[in-house]
Symmetry: C2
């Protein structure tokens, strides 16, 4: 043999996990160790999709002035009393009010001001006579209908009154929310900081994503997949690249600046699985080995007060354990709901699902002709199974599975 290889080396560590915790236990621990991050302010143009950090109350009335809702004439309503096509009442037109260019004098008795939709109602006027009920002459109009006070006038504060609650803390800002914030004069918004999530991919066999394929090497698929998942869940992925299977390099990556670490690969109990013992030694690793399939050889711990997720290198396991544990934690750090981000539909099973009592199963399915069809494809290493699938079914640990025809809840990937 070439090098100082000793087949007995670390043989104890090849024996497997002593005990596997349940998914529920791990989620409960996470729930107690995951807290919303603090806030930051961002320009309004970057606020959509962010989570509002505090209730927003308006300091101003919107609109800040009474305005016309019609094209027509601003009048004193009393002057139109009794007007009809058979009793046309004359009013002197003394000017006009346009949007952004108000009439700067007052409307007196017997007077009118031509006004456009959205223009400020002049002082003295209390209603708008629509252009349709007016005969227009040179410097005067003949009113052919009457209007009551306030008619066709959008009142001050009609949309939002000064002092009113506008949006609640925790709101994931929608396009119209950003519009409303603009309308009350918000230039910047206080939102929950996006969690900075360091994605550490390990494995000496890996080529960086984007590389062409090479013999005896695997192109990293977990790195780009995790970056996309983190962004989906409102986090900001930090992707320093591939870290060699070397304890010092891994420890350095685990300790680098961020709000959370996702480490992919080397999460099990094999000879080159350094991360679990590093986290246990330099922080805490309360969970190593979870009763689930795929994804069993994973770990959850903390190091430097930050959550660390040790995700299996097998890509399906990586996706599944991310979605079970890391995704909800990122969403909660960012002020979002821990719930699964997938739409759900109910469909009958085309074929049975068999599961082992005591273990949570994540079964990829395809939807076809109204049926949910479990995909009979390989194990945790077959990532293409998740691109051929439309979603997945979860089998809880107290279930042995479901027979054909049973209605199951399908989480849709898209």
């Amino acid at each position: 043999m070439a090098d100082a290889f000793d087949p007995r080396q670390r043989d104890v560590r090849m024996r497997g996990f002593a005990r596997r915790a349940t998914v529920a236990d791990a989620l409960k621990w996470l729930d107690g160790h995951t807290h919303r991050l603090n806030e930051e302010t961002v320009p309004l143009a970057e606020a959509v999709g962010r989570v509002l950090a505090a209730d927003v109350t308006s300091r101003v009335d919107v609109p800040s002035f009474a305005r016309s809702m019609m094209d027509g004439f601003a009048v004193r309503a009393a002057d139109t009393m009794g007007a009809s096509p058979y009793n046309r009442l004359a009013l002197a037109v003394i000017g006009q009010s346009m949007p952004g260019r108000p009439f700067d004098a007052a409307v007196g008795p017997g007077q009118a001001v031509r006004i456009m939709t959205g223009a400020p109602l002049p002082n003295g006027a209390d209603a708008v006579l629509p252009a349709e009920v007016v005969e227009i002459q040179r410097q005067r109009i003949l009113a052919q209908d009457d209007v009551s006070p306030g008619k066709h006038v959008g009142r001050l504060g009609e949309d939002i009154a000064a002092g009113a609650a506008v949006l609640p803390a925790g709101r994931v800002l929608r396009p119209q929310d950003v519009g409303v914030l603009a309308s009350i004069g918000c230039g910047r918004v206080a939102v929950v900081r996006r969690p900075q999530v360091r994605i550490v991919t390990t494995g000496n066999e890996l080529l960086p994503a984007g590389s062409p394929a090479e013999p005896n090497r695997i192109v990293d698929s977990n790195g780009p997949m995790l970056a996309a998942l983190v962004a989906r869940d409102g986090g900001r992925p930090i992707t320093p690249g591939i870290v060699p299977d070397d304890p010092e390099a891994i420890l350095e990556a685990l300790r680098a600046e961020c709000d959370m670490v996702l480490l992919s690969g080397g999460s099990s109990v094999g000879q080159e699985d350094y991360a679990p013992s590093l986290v246990a030694e330099h922080g805490e690793l309360p969970f190593h080995g979870i009763a689930m399939r795929p994804g069993s050889p994973m770990g959850i711990g903390r190091l430097r007060q930050r959550l660390v997720f040790l995700l299996p290198g097998n890509p399906v396991s990586c996706l599944c354990t991310y979605d079970f544990f890391a995704g909800p934690a990122i969403r909660v750090l960012g002020g979002r709901s821990a719930d699964w981000p997938y739409r759900r539909v109910v469909a009958p099973l085309r074929r049975k699902i068999v599961s082992t009592i005591g273990r949570t199963e994540y079964v990829r399915v395809r939807l076809a002709e109204g049926w949910a069809e479990p995909l009979a494809i390989g194990g945790a290493s077959v990532l293409s199974s998740t691109t051929r699938a439309d979603g997945f079914v979860l089998v809880p640990p107290d279930s042995e599975g479901s027979p054909p025809g049973a209605e199951v809840e399908v989480f849709l990937y898209d």
Copy 2:
């Protein structure tokens, strides 16, 4: 009167719309005038959420080599035949194969190579004997179980075979899709170009979004709302700022470079509503005035071969007409589904909805205790109604509305 104001000026144009087209007519015309844009290539790291422009087929096998699925020993299966705890068979350990560091010689009869999960299976070996069924001695192992050929071996092409279809054209790329593309050695991906959508906000009364409120002025809420909607629908918003109510400035904005124009404000038939006649004169304006509420004073046309949407300045009308017409067009240009992007739920009405035959209505509702409650709040100018609402109900033109308790489909804003 101060300036050269003549109250008879343009009075014809104040009479309103001659005829309102139906929503269905406008959608049908749009369907015939909206075509997917061409493609561009982007780096893999920017591909998630983009639309695949062509089917992707793999040129390589993934993995590109047979690999071990266990920590153990690569062996010739035949050598283990008959092995058991009572019939331990000795094999000479001649080296090791690690991920990324394969064993570079062949395994002969009576030989074994220590192997880690994910490492290449050496030539000559055809199975992996798990570490758990082996007694390890100095330079040899004692097999305590037998394995059949192929056991614990991930075969070449197990995930993806060379030549296999991997992802179909039109797929909105999900995180795992990006992972699969990485695994087949994709560095760049051909995706549908994102539509460049120019957002032209008009109105002399408007202050730019982000400004503090000012007397007699309105802060632009449509601009930031439309930018967020365009981004949601896969477009790239171009936001040059507010354009004055001036025909030359508006024409210039309508003609500037982009794939589509959204013009907000000045879409009706008032004195300062220049855009409709500009589009009709320099292009075509087949639709002006749609039988819907809110949103009736809108227009749809083309100028320089590009779709132009004239959206009302009232923000609820702007949101609603965007969602009915502009949103689907942007999604189709970008290769996406024209369908409404909102989740739907069915709920009983808390109060009746009254609607006018011949008109499509967009009714904002709140969901409370399982009921859909129509919001009794103001008109098209009250944007805050859409932030207080959870979604909306559509009433088709052949309906007079629905009584309390009727089951309605609610489109959820979030």
